[in-house]
């Protein structure tokens, strides 16, 4: 499939049972009919399942470091579980040590 905006190839990914197409060029995302609704449904399920807010920590949590406007989403957020998820990958290992 070709991206309607920049005409580069689009690749299909499956995220939690929802098929999305992402453009390898402009990184835009294409959703099929019904997929937006599927995403909305998944989101509301997730919100319902979310545990009650945790008790305030005994020590003040360290403030998340500031990030630029173009930084990765969720930066410094409370759901930053994926943040740094690439840290242990070989690709990043190479990047850390090369020009």
């Amino acid at each position: 499939m070709q991206c309607p905006k920049c005409h580069a190839a689009m690749h299909t990914y499956n995220r939690n049972g929802v098929q999305i197409e992402q453009c390898s060029g402009c990184r835009g995302i294409f959703l099929d009919y019904g997929e937006l609704e599927a995403l909305t449904r998944l989101e509301s399920q997730w919100v319902q399942q979310a545990p009650p807010a945790p008790a305030p920590p005994a020590y003040p949590a360290q403030a998340a470091p500031a990030a630029p406007a173009w930084g990765a989403p969720h930066q410094g957020g409370h759901h930053g579980g994926h943040h740094g998820g690439h840290y242990r990958q070989r690709g990043f290992g190479r990047m850390l040590f090369s020009s």
């Binding site: 630029p68 990765a72 840290y87 020009s99």
Partner: protein, 288 residues
């Protein structure tokens, strides 16, 4: 052989490391950079070069050659153990050192902004048809052409591969110290050092953090140690000074990923994809 790349060939023989610098290295600029690394004002920051034996030429096929003591590098398998704080303190110390008089006039610009531009040129040459090239170029257009007007000592190409442990000089038989015991961390690689805006030396870790691949704790440790050591590259709001260089380093990393993966006929790995995604966000925030 430790490395053989476009930018130099490095060979080790026991306790010695010899580097043949890149063809086309400007001999005058090279001598000024080497003199700085040997200067006592940056003793404790840079690994000092060793004198070349004999009185022969210091060039091989027109390429300058330098000689260094071997020092163990950071273990690439264990980035958690990397000396992030020590690296930050060394950079702060370098940035705070006034350019030595006399040599300062001859010391060239540090090459970090030029290297970003070269990476984009290389991508344009080798990966003009890659679908993500346009995205990287869009991000590159947000980076101002003129670098900020600072004239401080900078490394010019800082990453974790630019740190080694200095070893004590071999002790005489009467000295009880173990021979070649590693001591403190030092910076290596003089090819890009010079005068400029020190924020570029923090830009790689800043870009990795902004892309979401360097954990915030590690970025905080690195930046905190730099600020604590009185480093002049950032002010109270660190991103005021880091924003442009971090964007440039994101573009540089993405451009080299496209150039290399195209030549090697391989797909981008997941981390390289993240850098392209970050370029797309930079391009999207161009007015912001």
């Amino acid at each position: 052989m430790l490395a053989d790349r476009d930018d130099g060939t490095v060979v080790r023989h026991g306790a010695l490391v010899a580097k043949a610098h890149a063809p086309g290295t400007d001999p005058e600029e090279h001598r000024a950079r080497l003199a700085l690394a040997a200067h006592r004002d940056v003793d404790g920051v840079f690994l000092p070069p060793l004198p070349l034996p004999g009185s022969g030429s210091d060039a091989l096929d027109g390429r300058p050659v330098t000689l260094w003591p071997y020092g163990p590098p950071v273990d690439p398998e264990d980035p958690d153990d990397a000396p992030w704080e020590e690296a930050a303190r060394l950079l702060a110390l370098l940035h705070r050192t006034p350019p030595p008089p006399g040599g300062a006039g001859r010391l060239p610009d540090m090459r970090a902004p030029a290297k970003a531009a070269l990476a984009v040129d290389r991508m344009r040459r080798t990966a003009p048809d890659h679908p993500a090239t346009g995205t990287v170029l869009d991000a590159w257009r947000t980076v101002p052409e003129a670098p900020a007007p600072y004239r401080l000592l900078c490394h010019g190409d800082f990453h974790l591969g630019q740190l080694v442990r200095a070893t004590r000089p071999p002790a005489g038989p009467e000295a009880g110290a173990p021979v070649d015991a590693p001591t403190a961390w030092r910076l290596i690689d003089i090819d890009d050092l010079g005068l400029g805006d020190p924020a570029w030396d923090l830009a790689r870790p800043a870009a990795w953090f902004a892309a979401g691949i360097l954990p915030p704790e590690i970025w905080s440790r690195f930046l905190g140690a730099y600020q604590e050591a009185g480093g002049p590259a950032v002010e109270a709001d660190p991103w005021g000074r880091l924003d442009v260089p971090a964007r440039a380093l994101t573009v540089q990393t993405a451009a080299l990923a496209l150039a290399k993966s195209t030549v090697e006929r391989r797909p981008l790995d997941e981390v390289e994809e993240v850098m392209i995604d970050t370029c797309a966000r930079i391009a999207g925030h161009r007015t912001g």
